[in-house]
């Protein structure tokens, strides 16, 4: 092998699919058939996963912290709700895209405020924007329904063919399809030169500019894209639950998202997905055991994760699966562990 083709081979190393990734998606798909009574919670997890993936794009790749990601989730949720309620766009997939675009416009407009300044500034600016929108939604209750939210949303069948059923089966597979498509898209992007340049900016903005990367333009681009993803997650929320209320903008929603990524890890796309599953499971588990104090236990778990280190936890969790995979597919196909987490 010549040095040049060798370089090409190694440059694409991360972009290749690992066996573990195939296994992951097969398991997710299988869940849809194995637990027909649990569609609602599983759909909830998928939405949270997509929402977390959106934050991962800016936090894990570009290093932009945000405490107001619910702003885009909320805009997507209300946009989807209004489109359906007033019969402007009845077809859910099209409405989903339009709602995502609405959030994207807001993302682009606010990106100029967010890319300025350091982490603390960004936390405050993003938090402020989300609070602002929540207040606006409450003020313009003639449009948003105020504290009652949008009521009486009736979803039309997907592509005019597949109706949303009361068990949430269609909603689950619809959400899964949306998540998977957007995941593939994100996966493609993060392994492109553009995606790599984001990681470079996160690592060292000074050097990034010194090799000719237009830092601000790249940050605006990814922030806008992440807003689109969050908007889609919000629209899915409205479409699968047929409600949109003020709590789509709530601070807790943005804060939970940070917790999801703390659990799942950032910068490898699966962090949001794994984190969403674990976070909701813990929530369910603890609220069954101790309805009043579940937040205490979630807090404890987070402290342990941060102290012990996620990488070590991952190694323990992946020990057995990797043992099996090594037997079947050889040493090199072990499940990826995020490399940026120390």
């Amino acid at each position: 092998m010549t040095a040049s083709s060798d370089v090409g081979f190694h440059a694409q190393r991360q972009a290749r699919w690992h066996y573990g990734e195939f296994a992951f998606w097969l398991v997710v798909l299988a869940c849809g058939f194995l637990f027909p009574t649990r569609y609602l919670i599983m759909t909830d997890i998928l939405r949270l996963a997509l929402f977390a993936m959106s934050l991962d794009l800016i936090l894990g790749y570009a290093g932009i912290v945000s405490l107001g990601h619910a702003a885009f989730f909320g805009v997507g949720a209300y946009a989807a709700g209004l489109l359906a309620l007033h019969g402007i766009i009845n077809e859910p997939v099209l409405a989903l895209i339009v709602a995502g675009l609405a959030a994207m416009v807001l993302g682009f407009a606010t990106s100029f405020l967010v890319i300025r300044g350091v982490d603390l500034t960004r936390l405050m600016v993003t938090l402020g924007i989300a609070l602002l929108l929540e207040a606006l939604a409450e003020r313009f209750s003639n449009i948003t329904g105020g504290t009652d939210g949008l009521q009486g949303i009736e979803m039309q069948p997907i592509f005019g063919e597949i109706p949303f059923d009361m068990f949430g089966k269609a909603g689950f597979f619809y959400s899964l399809a949306v998540l998977f498509v957007l995941f593939l898209f994100a996966r493609r992007i993060v392994h492109s030169p553009f995606g790599l340049s984001l990681r470079a900016i996160k690592n060292n903005p000074l050097r990034a500019a010194a090799i000719g990367i237009p830092v601000n333009r790249r940050l605006i681009a990814i922030y806008t894209l992440a807003a689109f993803y969050a908007g889609i997650a919000g629209a899915l929320f409205t479409q699968t639950t047929a409600i949109a209320s003020l709590d789509v903008f709530a601070f807790e929603r943005s804060a939970d998202l940070m917790l999801v990524l703390v659990i799942g890890g950032t910068g490898y796309l699966y962090g949001g997905l794994v984190g969403a599953v674990v976070f909701r499971m813990l929530q369910e588990l603890f609220s069954t055991i101790t309805p009043q104090y579940w937040q205490f236990w979630i807090g404890l778990v987070l402290v342990v994760i941060v102290l012990v280190g996620r990488q070590r936890l991952h190694r323990w969790v992946l020990y057995v699966p990797n043992l099996v995979i090594k037997q079947v597919a050889g040493r090199k196909s072990v499940v990826a562990v995020p490399e940026s987490d120390a």
Partner: protein
């Protein structure tokens, strides 16, 4: 003789402190020009103004005759002005392969590609391979930069600057902090830069300066003290007084 890089009456103050005083420098095309001066003379401040990290209070910066003083950092790089940093500025989590690949992609205008995967362009791959080989980084191309020995990181720092194919290269103390055993690689690399690349070297190591430079400017307290070929600067009593004198004190 064409002038590759020029400053005209450059002024920079930090609060009440004048760190660059009416500095006019001319660096000829293809020159091996060294900028020396005692600690705190404002050498790195000059580099930071040339590259756009700092904005001068007044004065002009001309790259191949065109005023670049108002351009942001990344646009100056695309115009052919690239630098290394005195303290390594690398991407700790990225590998040398990714680091250089990114620099090459940006220069060829592929940096904004968001659909095509890294490593699928043969022209980019070829250049990466060539640079990795030339800078002795081929065997560590998949290691995280943060894990590399300091000498290798220093080579990578220079390789990244070269990957931008600069016509003017600013080297800010390339051999700083490199252990004696790894110094040879750095010096060889610096010595083998193509002749059509104009180099401005900032350096404390007088051996390196006098073996490398064909012209030397001496900066003291932000102002140009003297300028000329190495032999002349070495004999200059003023230089001996402020610069070499200081070294004697240090010893």
């Amino acid at each position: 003789m064409t002038i590759a890089l020029e400053t005209q009456n450059l002024e920079k103050t930090f609060g009440g402190l004048r760190v660059t005083r009416d500095l006019s420098l001319k660096i000829e095309q293809g020159a091996r020009h060294a900028l020396i001066g005692p600690n705190g003379a404002g050498k790195t401040t000059v580099i930071n103004q040339l590259t756009g990290v700092l904005k001068p209070n007044s004065g002009r910066i001309l790259l191949e005759g065109q005023d670049i003083a108002d351009l942001p950092v990344h646009k100056r790089v695309l115009r052919g002005l690239s630098r290394t940093f005195q303290i390594n500025q690398l991407y700790p989590d990225l590998t040398p392969l990714e680091t250089i690949g990114l620099a090459v992609s940006e220069r060829l205008g592929h940096g904004g590609d968001w659909w095509r995967r890294m490593g699928t362009r043969s022209d980019v791959n070829g250049e990466i391979a060539e640079l990795l080989t030339r800078f002795h980084l081929l065997d560590v191309m998949n290691e995280q930069t943060v894990t590399l020995p300091y000498g290798k990181q220093r080579l990578l720092e220079i390789a990244v600057a070269i990957a931008a194919k600069p016509r003017v290269l600013l080297l800010d103390e390339p051999a700083a902090g490199v252990p004696e055993s790894e110094r040879h690689d750095i010096l060889a690399v610096v010595g083998s830069l193509p002749r059509d690349v104009t180099v401005l070297l900032i350096e404390h190591d007088m051996d390196l300066v006098f073996s490398f430079a064909d012209r030397i400017s001496v900066l003291v307290s932000g102002a140009l003290l003297t300028e000329g070929p190495p032999e002349q600067v070495a004999r200059d009593p003023q230089v001996k007084a402020v610069y070499l004198g200081e070294e004697a004190v240090n010893v």
